[in-house]
Symmetry: C2
Subunit: 337 residues, 2 copies
Amino acid sequence: MDKRKEQILKAIIKEYILEAEPVSSKTIMNRYGLNVSSATIRNEMAALEELGYIQQPHISSGRVPAPSGYRYYVDNLMEEEELLEEINLIDQLTSNISNINNYLKEVALMLAGASNYTVIVTEEKRGEETIHHLKLVGLLEDKALLVLVLSSNKVKDYVIPYLEKLSEEELISLSEILNQHLKDKEIKYLTLDLKNKIKGIFPNSPLLLEEIFNLIEKSLEEENNVEVIVEGVKNIFKLPEFNEVKKIAKFMETIENQEIITGLLRDAIGSEGNKIGVKIGEELGLEDLKDFTLIATNCSFCEGLNGKIGIIGPTRMFYEKNISLLEALLKKEDEND
Amino acid sequence: MDKRKEQILKAIIKEYILEAEPVSSKTIMNRYGLNVSSATIRNEMAALEELGYIQQPHISSGRVPAPSGYRYYVDNLMEEEELLEEINLIDQLTSNISNINNYLKEVALMLAGASNYTVIVTEEKRGEETIHHLKLVGLLEDKALLVLVLSSNKVKDYVIPYLEKLSEEELISLSEILNQHLKDKEIKYLTLDLKNKIKGIFPNSPLLLEEIFNLIEKSLEEENNVEVIVEGVKNIFKLPEFNEVKKIAKFMETIENQEIITGLLRDAIGSEGNKIGVKIGEELGLEDLKDFTLIATNCSFCEGLNGKIGIIGPTRMFYEKNISLLEALLKKEDEND
DNA sequence: CATTAGCACTCAAAATGCCAAAGTGCTAAA
DNA sequence: TTTAGCACTTTGGCATTTTGAGTGCTAATG
């Protein structure tokens, strides 16, 4: 790979990313100031094809980047991109985290808008979640609200009917008793013994307590599952390569499968920790995604809230911009630590 | 419109809803036991076309229902449909409302699954929301959680930094003071005077109080906006009439516009209150939705939570089934009152 | 010896023509 | 009033032709 070959490969990839059409030798001569004739470029293109970096859809057509061409581009040819506007957006978002439950979703929405591709996020399974605080609030004559603050700072709430009527004072004392016994305990310690003990302390409300135990177990179990967020699916509709409903349906089918998403993000980020992973086409290991690229990284802004976040688009993707986007996010994260 | 014309119109519409292809006189003769020849059916079809109920895509093709044909069908020819499975689903869902924040979303998901079309829901602007209960919870050394229970039963929560350090006891007493002064007050009563009064009572935490006031105002303002939920968009991909990416993109564009959604639901339900509205094609008043039908109704299961809910699909829609679905929902609602 | 002009060649996509199948309308007979 | 039968129309599929973009190769050039 001499200098000129690299220039031509870079030109082909840049042009193809922009236009989504096979690139001809003439186009490169006209638009990328190489100061050689189209014939020379053709010779170089033949060599690049020999090396496996580009392909011809058919014998008399222009060239298209091959998977290994994109890989070479990302590893060796790509330049950093400055993103002023987008960094502004990230700053705004991260300096103003008020509702933790929605935070990752907001980040996903912002990135989907900024990238114009699809953004996938998983929220980490965070081992054994516990109840950090519990409170019963009387709502109306026949209903109360159970508020659970979990160890991850998330808040969950459930409306429960008064299975047995309680006064406001009784509610408060019940809250206190529950807090005493359940605070910071992992779910496995919510044993039948403990339940019975609490029922013994508060013998007038066995049904209500049963319901509360159920909801606590439900909520902790829920939280020990990975949550998946997908935003900006419709962005890919505008791309010329998705000109068939079938392709769109297939993509949406894939992207809705939570196990696939978590697997993709895990593999793309790998064990490298705080770096940005780029998986191109077949590197993703899924036939249905062979024409997609995933750019992904870990993400952990506030304590107790860790996730993986990725931008997925066609292999013909604006690599510089999207890598820079995630880099900006990572940088912000470092600052906040 | 004599009896036989009605039979034939009904047959054409039923057949077209099933097959999405122009219906020929021969098909009707074979599949709908009318005991007349195809020639006779052809004569009747010519008459129905004269009346504007059906159309020919081209001169030698079968017939397709015209908008007024669907209208006549819905008003005069349609039969009720029994839905055993689906009613089961509705029962399950409505008898087990635990998380109010997500309730309407769950209903939407269920209906999207049952109908195989797209479901749109708006949550009603509910006039002046108030704080029903407020609580500050210490989380970690430098952060607290503000939990707001609103008059609509919704729970909102925000993480706030300790702008001034507070002990656990101070937090509790601050919660109490705020509750005393803010409980059941509309946002307009959260005046500068009141704010200063509270700051006077708790002079050590002016910054923290300012932040709390901001969040209360933000959350009440948010709640006075209409929330829009859309589920099951991808269902329409499978329909043969959406065989072009353009059509899908246009539909998604329309369906993402919250103002359009609220307008559609408002107009479809009209002022009739507890009835089911059906708007067919051009009746929706939007060029982009001229090939869609919206079936909609009001929805108010639990106190403080009102919404409008609609099923949107192609004009070639299973009218009976979807109307029955919403009727089942309404019936359940009556029982719960 | 690298570069390039020029030309023959290839292939995809668009345009054209043709034919069968599906379906209608109309006429004349039952 | 109904219907059998037939002429007529249109669509959609298929094969064929045309066009144009783009290449590879050869021979000439500095």
